[in-house]
């Protein structure tokens, strides 16, 4: 028997028995949609979480620090060889897959005051300002300047500035009543207040000292403001407050804020060496390879790959559970096919009997029923794909209305569509086996016998 004949006989049966075809397809389509949506939810959630994590933890970046020992005579040689020098920085910059490498030295967290005495807390970082663009920082206003005492603010640093007279009573109230939702809400609302600071002058003040006359810097001009990172949500970007300065200005701030004084003061960097550099890699997948190369230069490295691995492990579990739920629904749906096909076998006993008398063998009868069941599965699978797109569209719509982001994060990876259809056809075939065997075992003579 030709494949085309099997198909046309099966299609004819499906077309004739519209109600049974409809019911079976509906059952299997729900199962197929459940698999596609469940798997897509798992994968979308993982990608969303990775994106969010990447915006915070910068998965494609490596922090490089010198190897430092106790400074005794025995380890002095190791200390010298483990220094993070300008030459090593240049070598790192020339490594394969390295997009950019630049010193990023944290000066500290300070209170930033405007000339009209509004303030917020920012993290000050000394770096090569010309290199900022290579670390995916796009300038919304202005750009890097060669002039000393200039700074660049990130997106979040322009938010949450408030005058001391307003802020201090609020903080005092919160300290007294930490679970007061109204105060918490007021403080959150303050974080959303925007103050344009481009070309304005600010100064930094140490907040960690009890001195009445807190050390403060000279006024510095803001020559540029960075755009909100594309992969970060507006809320998270507003809480991330940074001020970038040149390495020279960073040294000046340290000096003015007296950070180099006192017993706990960190040692100043030697000329031509750095405390920390940041390396941007062209792809997350190449981070490990680049990290190995950097380690060969006698340097310490630190990445966030471990967090990613942990996240992948968690989502592997989520995906397995989702697939299990989808398969369970599909198994339930397959019962409808078994019932409908078995009923159909009984209704068509006479027809099967005639076919056997005319020379159809067991295999041919069996194949006819299995192909019919597979077609039911395919039909259910195709309808299931449509249902899954509607479901995802609905969920995304609801998520967009419910969240500030205004858009849903669920998408259907293309691989899930053939996978869903495969499971649907497989369910059809497996459900069709019993009815097919039962049909092929029909005794021709009994089937065509008339009372």
């Amino acid at each position: 028997m030709r494949a085309r004949d099997y198909m046309s006989l099966a299609i004819d049966q499906l077309r004739r028995r519209k109600v049974v075809t409809g019911l079976c397809s509906a059952g299997i389509s729900i199962g197929c949609a459940a698999i596609i949506v469940a798997m897509s939810l798992g994968q979308s959630a993982q990608i969303y979480a990775e994106k969010e994590l990447n915006s915070f933890l910068k998965m494609d970046e490596i922090t490089v620090t010198p190897i430092q020992n106790k400074g005794d005579e025995v380890n002095k040689d190791v200390d010298n060889r483990g220094k993070l020098t300008k030459q090593k920085l240049n070598l790192v910059r020339n490594l394969p897959h390295v997009k950019a490498a630049s010193p990023f030295e944290e000066v500290g967290y300070f209170s930033m005051h405007t000339t009209d005495d509004r303030s917020n807390n920012v993290q000050v970082i000394g770096t090569d300002l010309e290199q900022l663009a290579n670390f995916n920082h796009q300038f919304r206003q202005g750009g890097p300047s060669d002039v000393a005492d200039t700074i660049i603010l990130n997106y979040g640093a322009e938010y949450g500035l408030l005058d001391r007279a307003t802020l201090e009573p609020l903080i005092q109230k919160q300290n007294q009543d930490p679970f007061n939702e109204e105060i918490t809400q007021q403080l959150e609302n303050i974080q959303k207040l925007h103050t344009p600071l481009f070309q304005r002058q600010v100064r930094f003040e140490r907040a960690d000292t009890a001195d009445q006359h807190k050390p403060t810097t000279s006024t510095m001009r803001i020559t540029s403001v960075i755009k909100k990172p594309a992969d970060a949500s507006t809320d998270s970007a507003k809480y991330d407050k940074k001020a970038y300065t040149s390495l020279e200005t960073a040294a000046l701030i340290r000096e003015q804020l007296k950070l180099n004084q006192g017993p706990d003061a960190p040692p100043a960097s030697e000329v031509g060496t750095y405390k920390s550099i940041l390396v941007k890699v062209d792809d997350q997948n190449n981070v490990e390879q680049v990290e190995k190369q950097i380690k060969k230069l006698m340097l310490n490295t630190q990445t966030n790959l471990k967090q990613k691995e942990r996240l992948e492990d968690t989502f592997k579990m989520v995906r397995t559970i989702a697939l299990g739920v989808g398969l369970f629904v599909l198994v339930i749906a397959s019962i409808s096919i078994v019932v409908a096909m078995t009923m159909s076998t009984h209704q068509r006993r006479r027809q099967i009997g005639i076919m056997k008398v005319l020379g159809a063998n067991l295999r041919q009868i069996r194949n006819m029923f299995i192909i019919e069941a597979a077609l039911l599965g395919l039909l259910g699978g195709l309808i299931g794909v449509m249902i899954s797109y509607w479901l995802v569209w609905g969920i995304n719509g609801a998520a967009a209305r419910a969240t500030e982001a205004g858009q849903g994060f669920i998408f259907i990876p293309l691989i899930n569509i053939p996978l869903g259809i495969f499971f649907a056809v497989l369910t059809g075939v497996l459900s069709g086996i019993y009815p097919a065997l039962s049909a092929s075992r029909t005794d021709a003579l009994t089937a065509i016998k008339r009372d």
Partner: protein, 233 residues
Amino acid sequence: MLKVEQLSHTFRNGPELTKVLHHIDFQVDKGDMIALLGSSGSGKSTLLNLMAGLMKPTEGTIYIAGHDIVKMNENQLAEFRRSNIGFIFQAYELIPNLTVRENIELPLVFQGISPSKRKEKAKQLLEQVGIPDKGELFTSQLSGGQQQRVSIARSLITEPSVIFADEPTGNLDTRTEEEIIAILKHLNKTMSTTFIIVTHEREVADHTKRVITLRDGHLVEDQAPVTVEGGTA
């Protein structure tokens, strides 16, 4: 062409055994048209089912075109029936959801013959049985006589060695019965196909070249029918 040797068959009904055929022996030559005549319960339908390989006999052998069909398994029998045996049923046994042409083509579908060849053969047979314009109709749109013509065409499409007709005129009026008998006789003559017709009507049996009469499972008579004029048919 067809040889039945010492064929016996017993049905089991619970603990009870009923012997319905007793040591039947006969032989049919190629191109013959014979009638198996007998009243209800004589064993004629059981004999036909055994010869068609739809049942296994308790004893004896059946040879068709040199093959011992008793020794064949279910699949071998299906394949043997497909190319060597044609069937004509009293109730036509056509498949209602297929067109007339598709019904006629069905045995060739199981043989894996290409659609174009099937179509061409079905068209020729439709002309031979006198319904050339009914090919695309469904069987429910045909009269009883026309449906039996479709059944005849279907039995002939594989050019079988032998055609078994089980009460082929049982559901038809006298005029249609004569038409169908005429078609069978004509096909037997022109195509040299062997016909074995099971009937309980002496009038139908008298149209054949030889009548085998069964009574209570015994072959009681095997002779050429006697015509009104006193000669043989």
